[in-house]
Each structure stands twice: as C-alpha cells, then as structure tokens.
Amino acid sequence: MKFIDPHVHMSSRTTDDYEAMQKAGIVAIIEPAFWLGQPRTEKGAFKDYYSSIVGWEPFRSSQFGIKHYCTIGLNSKEANNVPLAEQVMELLPLYAMKDNVVAIGEIGYDDQTEAEDRFFRAQIELAKEVNLPILIHTPHRDKKNGTLRSMDVLEEHGVDPKMVIIDHNNEETAKAVLDRGYWAAFTIYPRTKMGSERMVEVVKQYGSERIIVDSSADWGVSDPLAVPKTAHLMLANGIAKQDVHMTCYQNALDAYAQSGNMKESDWVDGVVFDQSTLFGGNSVLRGQDPKKGSGTDSDIVEN
C-alpha cells in the first residue's frame, strides 16, 4: 500500500528515517512550518528555516524517492514574541507562493493569548488572499475549547471548512470538527497525542470520510512510521482496505490538492529533482544513492 504522511517535521529527522519511510510505502509527505523545540530570536532564523523547507528538504527527500511539500506559517507558540512575529509576518507572502507550499499553517492557538489570536487571524486572511488551504494546530492544553474557538474564528472570517485541516484531534474533538465540515487529522504520537489503537477505534466509530492520519514526527520521541503502522493495525482489526486508503492517503491528497500544488502525478512515476528531465519522462532517481546495504548489525560502514 502507498501512504502519505501529511504532517511530519523532516528537518529534525535522519536519512535512516527517510529510508525506512520509503521502504514502508510512504510516497509523499508534508512538512508544516513549526517551531524547532526552542524559540527563535531573529527574523533571519525564520527566513532560513522557510528557505530550507522549500528548497533543501524537498531535495533531501527526493533522494529517497519521496515527494516533499510544506506549509508556511508563523506557529502560535512563537506568535507570542510580538515584535519578532510582526517581522516574520512580512516574510510569509514571499514564501506562501513557492512551488511545494500546500497550505498556510500550522497556525491556531497554543496558550490562547491575545497575541496568538491576532496573528492567527492575520494568517487566515493571508490564506484567503493567496487561495491556500489552512492547517490548524490545536493546543495541547485546554484542547477542546481551543479547537472550538479556532473553528469559530475561521467561520467569523468566512473560511470554507473544506479548505481547512484541523490537526491533533482526539476522541473529545472529533465529532464537533467533522460535524462542522472540516477535515479532521489525527496525530499518532506516543504518549502526548493519539496511540494507534485508539485511532483504530476512531475509524471504527466515524468511518473514513474527511479523516486523516499523520505522525507529526519531529525532534521529540516520535515515530515517522506512525502512518503505515496505524494502517497495518487498522487492516489487522478488520477495517476495510478502502477506509485505510482514504485515511492514510487519499483524504490528505484531496485536502491539500486544493492548493493546486500537490498532485498524484508528482510521484507516481518516481520523484525526480532534475528540471531538465521535467518533460522527458525520465524517472530515474538521481544523486547520492540511498544506502544499499540491508539493515544488518554488521560493524562495517560502507566505503
């Protein structure tokens, strides 16, 4: 089976992860702009980070045959440094137009402060202006209220729910998000978010319509194989293959394809990173070969 992980912070991951992801059937990924585990203190740090997820990381990913997309946004945690956030907001229009950008995000609330609210709204307006979907990060703390409030604000700004992916849902938020017409994403992340067994139950209860599974793997203890693992667990628990396909591939594609920047043809014939072959139908993977040896416990490091 083929999978998409529509939320994974690859900048924090190693080539071993890329290799394992490719082997597990992941063909495309989305890297939402987020924070790096510690706050940035300069505008330039944001600029270089954004440059990296529109340039360097897609290249790195392509070496493993995986198509890389990203979302651009100022995350809610760092929105609280208002003078810096104002500068970062000036950068966003420049990056929102890039080739692999499929949404504005992840934005929303962390502590639900006034500053977070201000920059959340400004970015909703930006998304409307450039006609991109929106990826919502729902808070860890006071999650239910934060999620409801996010949807209220989006509706206040006249955003069509089908253009919005609400992420990090759980059993408590799923119903409201789905009932109001949004895409509901679930993050399989050990201990802090969803476990894969709970995810199986969610799909049993709600079916597969507008439900999306992701890993949000990052610099913390997390699992870049969470999507394929959850898919296998769903199959083992009697969930229909079609529903697994919808939740672990198709729904993410349908949601983010609304950007106009993501389409299946980007990866079905292989991922290339040489522009000169763009119209030649050449699908050969170039550059440094992904590691050839099979995963043994040998002490020999390939020459």
């Binding site: 106009g260 522009q275 763009l278 119209f279």
Partner: protein, 294 residues
C-alpha cells in the same frame, strides 16, 4: 575569449533587443488569452520590489508550463551569449521568468535578484542561475554565482555548471577549479561544462592528481572524465598514474587514460605495450559515463 568584438553601445543594443525578443517569444508560446494579458501587464509593473516578487512567484500558477519553441534569430542571439544554449533545456515558466529578470532595470536589478535568491525555492534558484548570464550586467553577479556552486542540490548546481557560459566567461581560475572539483565530487557530467577544455590549467591538474591518489588510497575509483582535465599537462608522475590506470582499470577509465596518453609525448608507451588507441572523443566518453543517469 570571444572572437566577435562589440563596442559598449552595440552590447547594450543587443541586450535591449534580447529583452524584447524574449518577451515576444514568451507571448508566442503562451497558450491562453488570460496568461497573455496577465504576463503583458506584469512585465510593465516590475519596478516595485514586491510586485516583482509576487509576479515571479505567481507565474507558475498563471502559465501552463510546457516546452518552448523559439525562432532561429533568437536562438542565434542566445547562442552568441551562451554557445551551449538549447531551448530544449528551458520550460515556458522558466523562459517567462527569464523575461521578468531581463525587464528589471539594471540600476537596481542586483538588489532585487539577490533578495529573491535568498528566499527562493529550488526551481527559482535553478532559473535565476540559468538566467544571469543573459543580463546586461551579468558580471555584477559573480559572487552570487560562486556562492551558488556551494550548493548540494544537484539541479541548482547543474544550473550553473551545465550548459552555462557564466563560469567560463567570468570566473577566476580558482573559482573555476573549485567548480570543476565540486562537479567531480557530486558526480556531475563534466562534458556538459561549457569551455571545459579551454580552461584546463596546471593548478587544476595538481589538485586532481592529489584527488586521484586520495581516492586510490581509499580503494575507490575516479570518474573517467577526470582525465580529460589532465590531458595536456602530463609529467612523469602523471605518466605513472596513467600507466597504472591503463593496466588496472577496465572500461571507460582505461579508455580515458589511453586517450590522454595517445595525445601526449608519452604516446610511444602504448605502442610498446601493444595497446590500441581509442577513437572515442571526450564528449563520447562523458556521454557513456553518464548514460546510466542522464
């Protein structure tokens, strides 16, 4: 370097015509009325920094990408600036972006293009690096291009190194050598570097010979194309390396070493050893080396 000597005014005129001809060619290639009117309007409005960035970024959404066809006159003009130019290496979106870059006023195009480069995605970097050689003030961007070859993104590197005359025209010997060496490290096709034979030099030969020894010490092979840059700078020490390559290498590495020897003063060694000369050209060797990936 270039046989045709033009006066300053003639160069300016030629570039002015180039700008208009490329603009016209873009219009000819655009398929929809909507794209034509959008493009026509945006070209007139590149003076503010933000309108330029937005138009440059929006282009890919406004234009249906595809291959381009161009008239012979424009083809000849582009080849005059860059003899390695081929329209088959350009897409319509790239060509329209080239038109935008040419339409910037050269009094402030440097600041605008440098800022754009600093925040560009991979495709944008590729087209900017491919385009700079066609600007009237191309030479002003030398440091940016030298910085560009420090990239590890293959297609960005290729945009500078392959079928691009910029390095040939403007790079110092050290910058040129750095580019060639990096191309070898990145396993990029050497035969596609414009002017590769004309800019060979003794310093590069020395660096490459050290590189060969380092690779051999590590039990690794070197690309057969490497010997092309050494050809013409042989000495007794390199002769030993070539002999070793002919004896121990098989395939194209051996062919390349034979080729260097047959064109050198050490040619008699081949006859003494009963080794047949090769009829392959360096480009043919390069093509074969890169066949699996090109």
């Amino acid at each position: 370097m270039n046989q045709i000597a033009l006066t300053g005014t003639q160069i300016v005129n030629a570039k002015t015509n180039l700008k208009l001809e490329i603009y016209q060619s873009c219009l000819n290639n655009l398929k929809s009325e909507l794209a034509v009117s959008w493009f026509t309007e945006k070209v007139k409005d590149l003076s503010s920094t933000s309108s330029f960035y937005l138009a440059f970024g929006m282009l890919k959404r406004k234009v249906d990408d595809g291959p381009i066809s161009i008239y012979e006159g424009l083809n000849a003009e582009l080849k005059r600036i860059n003899p390695a130019f081929s329209h088959t290496k350009w897409t319509l979106v790239e060509f329209c972006r080239l038109a935008f870059l040419l339409h910037l006023d050269s009094s402030d195009n440097k600041a605008k293009i440098c800022t754009l480069l600093a925040s560009s995605d991979m495709k944008e970097q590729v087209v900017i690096y491919k385009s700079l050689q066609y600007l009237a003030n191309a030479e002003d961007f030398k440091l940016e291009i030298i910085d560009g070859i420090r990239t590890n993104m293959v297609d960005v590197f290729d945009a500078i190194a392959s079928e691009n005359s910029y390095a040939f025209k403007y790079f110092s010997e050290d910058a040129w050598n750095h580019m060639v060496l990096k191309a070898i490290f990145m396993e990029r096709p050497i035969y596609r570097i414009y002017g590769i034979d004309d800019k060979k030099n003794a310093k590069l030969t020395g660096i490459l010979q050290d590189f060969v020894h380092e690779r051999w010490a590590a039990g690794r092979a070197v690309t057969p194309e490497l010997w092309r840059m050494i050809s013409g700078f042989e000495n007794d020490s390199i002769f030993e390396d070539l002999k070793k390559t002919v004896k121990s290498d098989t395939g194209l590495g051996k062919t390349a070493a034979i080729k260097v020897l047959q064109e050198s003063s050490y040619v008699s060694w081949l006859a003494d050893e009963g080794i047949e000369e090769t009829i392959l050209s360096w480009n043919e060797i390069g093509l074969q080396v890169n066949q699996s990936t090109d």
